[in-house]
């Protein structure tokens, strides 16, 4: 038994300071991303979420260039980018891919500039990897308060507009007809999205933040029939995948004789991907269906969700 325990949790896992900071920041980022992600998936804005990740990459690399904490840049430019995307029409279904793509391209270009300048003007070597693919084990505990405050802001702004957000996510026209301030609700959602993308950029990197945003949410929406359950399952999946990824990265140190650990972001994203694949198996879907056997199959899943 003890052998199995030390095989799963290699020595020092629970007492390791980098692991503890990573577990807290990664867990918080995963939960916030899962909450926002459920709405992102329902609103069909995954591409917008990914573009915000690239915008926050530009912010993070810019912050590194001027010597600030990358988290500040991730979130700061993410919020500005969310505002820009809202202004140029990310709400419209038609043409929003174009607006998003334009912003995304410009953001990646800015990241390229900032990362180049960081490399040639300062003594930093790992900036591109840190910004794009994350550096969760090198986060210092001093960053935790900022992470917690930002996550509270994001979750609170979602909670504040819960019902109208749900309605406008499922049917913007119906919401507008019922007098929901769709624009304001959409803006608050974009703010939460920008913050959650910034947090997951810190945890798994700007490019991989999309995985944490939509992976657990999409899996949860497949497995559940109500938004409440989807939120709960998404949070569990996100945090679970993050912690499992951290554990696997920690253990990978012992897999090779050279003690060359493998990147934690890879493991987190791999677990999320595996979870999404498994959730597509007929057995899993049938189980989800049986649980709600009392509810007749809906004409449109989205309308069923709002009724719940």
């Amino acid at each position: 038994m003890h052998q199995l325990w030390t095989w799963v949790f290699e020595p020092g896992f629970f007492s390791s300071a980098p692991v503890r900071v990573a577990a807290v920041t990664g867990g918080v980022a995963a939960v916030v991303s899962a909450v926002t992600g459920v709405f992102t998936v329902m609103r069909g804005q995954s591409f917008g979420g990914h573009a915000l990740g690239d915008v926050s990459a530009a912010g993070g690399s810019g912050a590194l260039l001027v010597g600030l904490n990358p988290l500040l840049g991730f979130v700061g430019l993410g919020i500005i980018g969310a505002g820009v995307m809202d202004t140029i029409g990310v709400r419209r279904v038609r043409g929003r891919d174009l607006a998003t793509g334009i912003v995304l391209g410009a953001a990646i270009g800015l990241s390229a500039l900032f990362l180049y300048l960081t490399s040639v003007s300062g003594a930093t070597t790992g900036a591109p990897a840190q910004i794009l693919f994350g550096s969760i084990f090198t986060i210092t505990s001093a960053t935790i308060p900022a992470v917690v405050i930002l996550s509270v802001i994001a979750v609170a702004s979602i909670a504040a507009v819960w019902r109208p957000l749900l309605l406008s996510s499922v049917s913007p026209d119906l919401a507008a007809a019922r007098g929901v301030p769709v624009r304001l609700v959409g803006l608050l959602y974009m703010l939460a999205l920008a913050v959650s993308v910034g947090l997951s950029s810190l945890a798994v990197g700007a490019i991989l933040s999309t995985a944490l945003l939509i992976g657990p949410a999409a899996t949860a929406l497949r497995l559940t029939r109500t938004v409440g359950w989807a939120l709960a399952v998404a949070c569990l999946l996100g945090a679970g995948a993050t912690w499992l990824g951290i554990l696997l990265a920690y253990d990978s140190y012992y897999w090779s004789a050279a003690h060359q650990g493998l990147p934690v972001s890879f493991f987190i994203v791999a677990v999320i991907f595996a979870g999404y694949l498994f959730s597509g198996f007929p057995a899993a879907r049938a189980a989800a269906g049986r649980r709600d056997a009392a509810v007749p199959p809906p004409a449109s899943p989205a309308h069923e969700k709002i009724a719940a």
């Binding site: 020092g12 390791s16 300071a17 980098p18 692991v19 990573a22 180049y116 490399s119 040639v120 003007s121 300062g122 003594a123 930093t124 070597t125 790992g126 900036a127 591109p128 990897a129 840190q130 550096s135 084990f137 090198t138 210092t140 990265a249 920690y250 990978s252 140190y253 050279a258 003690h259 060359q260 650990g261 990147p263 934690v264």
Partner: protein
Amino acid sequence: MVFTAGRPAARRSPRRRKALVLAGAAAALAVAAAGCGTSATPAASAKSTTVINAIGAENEYANVLAQIGGKYVHVSSILNNPATDPHTYESSPSVAQEVSSAQLIVQNGVGYDTFMNKMESASPNASRKLIVVQHVLGLPDSTANPHLWYDPKTMPAVAKAMAAELSALQPAHKTYFQANLKAFDASLAPLNSAIAQFKAKYPGTTAATTEPVADYLLQAMGIKNLTPFSFQADIMNGVDPSPQDISLENGFFAQHTAKVFAYNQQVVDALTTSIRQAAQRAGIPVVGVYETMPTPGYRYQSWMLAEVHAIQKAVVSKISTQRL
């Protein structure tokens, strides 16, 4: 020509206009191609024959090259900014021009300056002499630590190779180069005796590092580097070290097992900064080490001697020398 034709073309038939645009694009391409062609040919072939154009890819090699070549050599260096990390260097067209006109190039090898190989093969020159320090020392490509210039055995061998190649380029000045080589070797005596004295006087000294930059010097001084190589390689290569290694590294300070912390001033990030602060909090003296020679005010010998003295001061009097 293309531009003057543009305005009246607006009134021509669309097909004519398309043909004109294509012709313009073809002309632009031809000009660009011609431009590439001219820049690739060495422009400095007509330069004075009495001075050898030479390049030291890293400024420490350039410095020694200037000492050996003296008045018969014009040396420039490519990696010489102590505020940036040479591992992330990106070459520019002006540097490529310098490389194409150089008669003698000294470079480190072991993957440290592969950008030199690219520029050299971009402007092939059969008469150009090339000294690769890795090959002078007979080291395999798999050598883990590329910072060869910190090894006290390296420069005497490199200087000898430099004198030989310079003599091949200008046989008339062979005795001059040989005399400079002799003077250079003699000037290394204070460094070698400082290293030997430290080794004899302070055996069993332990150190921690962020990067393998000064590892060869530490080894020569008989200092044991506690930091696992996997951690040093991760920092050098700009990837995240494992949490196990980070905890280990911080433990060397908390438990006071390391007597000195050699900190690479040219590869700095949030993690290395936090590690340096951990060392300072624990009262472990910090010594700044460099990828390239800090300038001005140093030549290779005095730079290395300053590093040895800084390490000695740290071990003996617990005094930090964060910057040389």
